[in-house]
């Protein structure tokens, strides 16, 4: 969790309700929500997947992302 934008990605996924596979959000929609450079978001998302904070599911050939339990706990840790 070195870059503040990682937290932004986690909290955004939490706030939009992407906390289970059927509510996962596509990369393009996440990009539209966050308004950051595509390459920056792609590297953050890859890192968060590797750290098991988010998971990806394939839908019609596109990757959709949602928070894992561990990711939800991190997101909520910023709120109290």
């Amino acid at each position: 969790m070195n870059h503040p934008n990682e937290i932004t990605v986690l909290t955004t996924l939490n706030n939009i309700g992407a906390i289970r596979p059927e509510k996962a959000i596509s990369f393009s929609n996440l990009l539209a929500s966050l308004r950051v450079r595509e390459d920056v978001l792609r590297s953050i998302v890859e890192k968060l997947v590797n750290q098991n904070y988010i998971e990806a599911v394939d839908k019609n050939g596109e990757k959709y992302y949602y928070l894992t339990s561990k990711g939800i706990l991190i997101a909520l840790s910023t709120y109290s």
């Binding site: 070195n2 955004t12 706030n15 906390i19 966050l34 339990s69 991190i74 840790s77 910023t78 109290s80």
Partner: protein, 369 residues
């Protein structure tokens, strides 16, 4: 859930409305407490909007319960996050609202210099205005609420959080725990626990640990928990040349937390703002000597040199002194450990907190006590 369980044991019919969590049931009864996990069907990237959305779904859940014939005497909400639902339900049901505050935005952020902080502060004020009783988790927080929100003193009660001592009644093999986390069996082990946020002060603990290594070169620091500050804390440890002696566990299960606490030599709670300090109670219940910042609720829970050690907040020299005070004198460490355990057992059980909570419920219902 500790308070809810104890209220249920005392005969209160408790219904808890909370958010869904992966793997948890939408409804279940836990030790007599009816727990409803609300599925929030829509979301919004904006945090405050998301809060209002989930409050709406919580209200909807209560609406369904009312339609099914449930009735309630008291609505009890915790912090600003669920205050909007509490206020709406208080008016819809014409019932009394009790608000427990665990902290304030002005305390957490120290300034209200952005629109989100100002909005949270305003919702906190609104909650204190609408509630028939406000419960603060420490005396210092009670005064913070009275002074900042201009709430009448009679309306605000100081009532601490409690702790479930049974959680800590486990036998552990200290050596196995240490081997599991790669800690030498003879190393002085310093334990810290909490969300990795600036409020918790771990950025001051790591420099203190670097100082401690001069006297105890084999010492280890284990930080239990996770949060947005983890990367920064790891960087501090690298920059001080102590990263190989600091263990970050991330989020771990409750059993593992207890195992580590029981295997440690001293627990440090270096918070810079702490309205209560539940982690101090956890350490005291686990039987590990505690060193705490002399702030807020920590000052109320721990008595200096009797059941713990106070240090100055945000001061690595002072924190290092406190750690050494415990590590260098095993007799003193045992003395404060025993006193701390006795205090927690007598003063901070959930059953006694529940009894006080019921008295507050009765007062707001006009029943007298």
């Amino acid at each position: 859930m500790g308070l809810s369980r104890a209220l249920a044991r005392a005969g209160v019919d408790v219904h808890v409305i909370t958010l869904e969590f992966p793997g948890a049931k939408g409804y279940e009864e836990v030790d007599g407490v009816k727990v409803y996990r609300v599925r929030v069907e829509i979301g919004n990237p904006n945090f405050l909007t998301w809060v209002f959305i989930f409050n709406h779904f919580m209200e909807k859940q209560v609406g369904m319960l009312l339609q099914s014939g449930c009735s309630f005497d008291i609505i009890h909400v915790h912090d600003w996050l669920t205050t909007p639902a509490g206020i709406a339900l208080r008016h819809i049901m014409d019932r009394r609202l009790v608000l427990t505050m665990h902290s304030t935005e002005i305390g957490r952020s120290t300034t209200l210099d952005n629109p989100d902080a100002y909005t949270k502060d305003s919702i906190e004020w609104w909650g204190t205005y609408e509630a028939s009783a406000v419960i603060a988790v420490s005396s210092s927080l009670r005064w913070e609420i009275i002074n900042h929100f201009k709430v009448p003193e009679w309306k605000v009660y100081a009532l601490p959080n409690g702790i479930d001592l049974d959680r800590f009644k486990v036998n552990i093999d200290r050596n196995s725990v240490r081997m599991k986390w790669g800690i030498p069996l003879d190393a002085p082990l310093i334990v810290a626990l909490g969300r990795l946020t600036s409020q918790k002060g771990f950025q001051h603990l790591i420099p203190a640990f670097a100082k401690i290594l001069h006297k105890y070169p084999n010492a280890r620091l284990i930080i239990i928990g996770d949060g947005w500050m983890r990367g920064e804390l790891e960087s501090i440890a690298w920059s001080l040349g102590v990263r190989d002696k600091v263990i970050f566990t991330g989020f771990i299960g409750d059993r593992e937390v207890v195992e580590i606490l029981k295997s440690g030599d001293v627990m440090v709670i270096p918070s810079v703002y702490e309205p209560f300090g539940i982690t101090a109670l956890e350490g005291m219940a686990a039987g590990i000597p505690v060193v705490v910042s002399s702030v807020g609720g920590l000052r109320e829970i721990v008595e200096h040199e009797k059941d713990g050690v106070w240090v100055y907040p945000a001061n690595p020299d002072s924190i290092a002194w406190g750690i050494d005070r415990v590590l260098s004198d095993p007799g003193f460490a045992n003395y404060i450990r025993r006193n701390a355990f006795n205090k927690v057992a007598s003063k901070y059980s959930w059953d006694s907190i529940a009894r006080e909570t019921i008295k507050i419920y009765r007062r707001v219902l006009g029943e007298g006590v």
